[in-house]
Symmetry: C3
Subunit: 334 residues, 3 copies
């Protein structure tokens, strides 16, 4: 969807993270560096004063063209724990209403010396577009673009898997749900394969399964839930967009739960120590029942906590690269 | 409305304030402790740097399911003066729209390591429900639940009365208006009685007076304004919800003002040094005329100022109890 | 529009800035002081930690009755760079909906010890009204009132002109567009004349040109764009409110651009080193084409950056005057 040549534009010449747009094109080493860095930030949430001064005096703008309390809030908290100043901009209701283009919005906020933009947009490629046009002193973090990518969600999921399973190299991970429309699934598949997970399985009704996905991502395709999660170490349930229910792509909620909803009974097919994940918010009784959602094997709330540490890692790495650039410019001028 | 056994759940085993949900069940000593603590915070607003570091690094989330600029703003300012980080979450328009339950919202924000929730909700019992399900490290402050309780409003009113009258033990206090639907009146009656006010009077049209309120709260009931405020030391006017005007419970605005609106002429029935209060925002010409609202005996704006000091007191007491808990857990692990 | 006697109410007895309401009545010395002060703040945006502690512990409330992401954001960033706490109040949707008057809103926020109000309102004179009724410890900054005044916009434009042209005393400045409805134009004309610009030209269709403007402001009137910008040093394009297009005051967008839109071809009439300005957001293809907007002579994004420095200057000057007042009160009490 996004041209190949642009994928690597998130790294600077030294291979450091400048933007965080997609998992595509990132090395295993870099993904592990993000996970390790996030590990160091987990403790900050338990401190009496939940703050580190890494981004003090920096301005981070949340540009959410699609509303999302959960994702915006975790980015806001991550930024505040890094001691940054946060601007929440609900663009849909103001500037765009006056007819301003996305590029004008970017240029104007750059002119206000905003250091980082966290962007969510319904159109695939928005974060890439902004990174391509951003001034060198600005970083873009993709918080979800259309059906394309949601890389911080994927990384917090990887972080959660590593905390529970230790090692990626012998895992079976199943992803269940609306693969077709899911930017989360796309980013998860890329991250799992990059980190060396040998067995990634995709489970969806035929109407929600993209064509040729096996070759594209090196995954295995299933249409039956019990078969797909057999002996899996990790089962990731995707959120169903209820608005698709009436679109002929999906059966009724009842029917969907009957075929693809996770229950304790069904979960017996997976390994006894299976880890159950969901990006939230859950539709209880559609993707899974409450017994599973609130059960011992569910790590759904841990995913939320881990999201802050992972976002702190990504944001501080991008800002750190900015500082390096600023120093080297300073030195070459000296 | 809220079962008795839950009322005391706002205190920890040592009797310290863990949550602040209702006046019910709180001792006179604890209410006086809140008032004394608030006294210490009044000076902060007059400092050049209006801040104390008591809650530095803590995250306080405003969860307002009903909008209220005034109450939300005073809580936000109180939190910022305590050096906390504040999250403003307008839940109605986001998470709930995606079908998330209240409990899921609570769990998710807890997972983000929010330390305190300030909650306003149209349903009675919401704050209690959240406190009952909250993790031990989290405090809930009730900013108004349905017709049930608005305890910080009652405490700021008590604070204002004490500042003007010195002592509660010989006062006559009249509360005028829509007692039936008022969480403010309910919390005020409880606080006044707990603090030892001997004469609490309730004045309302028959359609807005709850049954058996005399026995329930130990108050005296009046239907005539002049009679009710005779020789009163304090007159508290309640806000009329204009939307009730067309509901057959209330006469027209004109008629209401004619019967229950406070004027200088009417106020002569009260003591010459009577104090006039209102929780705001005032409907001028309905609950009272502007001469009274802006007159010498009105302390309505002082109530607003005092609201910040009282909220700082309640918030810092709850957070202090959290810190004690964290320390004792630390010690028992050491 | 605003009575003469009130214009000077923005200065205290010593001639210091207490409020910032309008350019009218301000001396050349004071305008230059603002520009010089802003010059000192330009560097703050380039520091690693973009903060100075001048307003630490102060509370600045953004009271926007008209929404404006750009202006509100630059005021918010200016306040945060001065280390103030910022309250964003969207008044239209809350307090006023409950029937509260503007004066009650002011009184209530004053009671919360807010130190400064940044006010935007559709009615001319709102900021003056608030300043007239504000308590002595509070400052009002006008962020745009009706068709009357937008003084911080004018000052950031003056700042931008001085940075590019050095000196005001021999400049030709042309202002193009809907002069009739523009608070920006009104403030710009006053500022340019006060700062000694000898040749200020106003270019507009007859339907959008106020009567007797030549005498009132000492400007020259043109109805032809090319003629009006001939040999100009600076051309300021005003934003067209698209909603006026259908009101018979304006021709179609196409027709407007044909007659008054700035193009590279047209710009050849001005001086070769002409500076092109616009308060933003631009309607590309109406006020100017993209070649001009993004061209070498456009300083539109610099205006945005300069807006923060100029707002920091105005805000810190008003707060500084407050501090002086507080000290002298303290001394007289000692």
């Amino acid at each position: 969807m996004i041209p190949k040549s642009q994928e690597s534009s998130q790294l600077d010449a030294q291979g450091n993270l400048k933007h965080f747009l997609t998992i595509e094109g990132l090395s295993r080493e870099l993904l592990v560096e993000i996970l390790d860095k996030a590990e160091g930030f987990v403790g900050v949430a338990r401190q009496a004063v939940k703050k580190v001064p890494l981004c003090r005096g920096k301005v981070i703008a949340n540009l959410f063209f699609e509303t999302s309390t959960r994702t915006r809030t975790t980015f806001e908290l991550a930024a505040k724990r890094l001691s940054a100043d946060v601007l929440n901009l609900n663009i849909s209701t103001s500037a765009t209403a006056k007819g301003e283009t996305l590029l004008d919005t970017l240029r104007n906020l750059e002119a206000m010396h905003v250091d980082m933009f966290v962007v969510r947009h319904a159109s695939s490629g928005t974060a890439h577009f902004m990174a391509r046009h951003a001034n060198p002193h600005v970083s873009i973090v993709n918080a979800g673009d259309g059906r394309h990518s949601h890389p911080t969600q994927a990384m917090l999921d990887m972080f959660t898997i590593r905390r529970h399973k230790g090692d990626f190299s012998s895992l079976s991970v199943a992803i269940v749900g609306d693969i077709m429309h899911s930017r989360v699934a796309r980013s998860q598949m890329l991250a799992l394969k990059t980190l060396g997970v040998p067995d990634v399985r995709i489970i969806a009704p035929r109407t929600l399964m993209p064509a040729r996905i096996e070759e594209a991502f090196g995954v295995r395709v299933y249409h039956d839930l019990t078969e797909g999660i057999r002996d899996a170490d990790v089962v990731i349930m995707l959120r169903i967009q209820r608005e698709r229910m009436n679109s002929a792509l999906l059966p009724s909620e009842h029917e969907y739960f009957h075929l693809y909803g996770l229950t304790e009974a069904r979960l017996t097919a997976a390994r006894p120590d299976v880890t159950v994940m969901h990006p939230g918010p859950i539709n209880r009784g559609i993707e899974m029942d409450s017994q599973v959602a609130d059960g011992e094997r569910s790590v759904i709330l841990e995913q939320v906590s881990n999201g802050i540490a992972v976002r702190m890692a990504v944001m501080s790495m991008c800002i750190g690269t900015q500082n390096l650039r600023a120093q080297s410019i300073g030195e070459s001028h000296a």
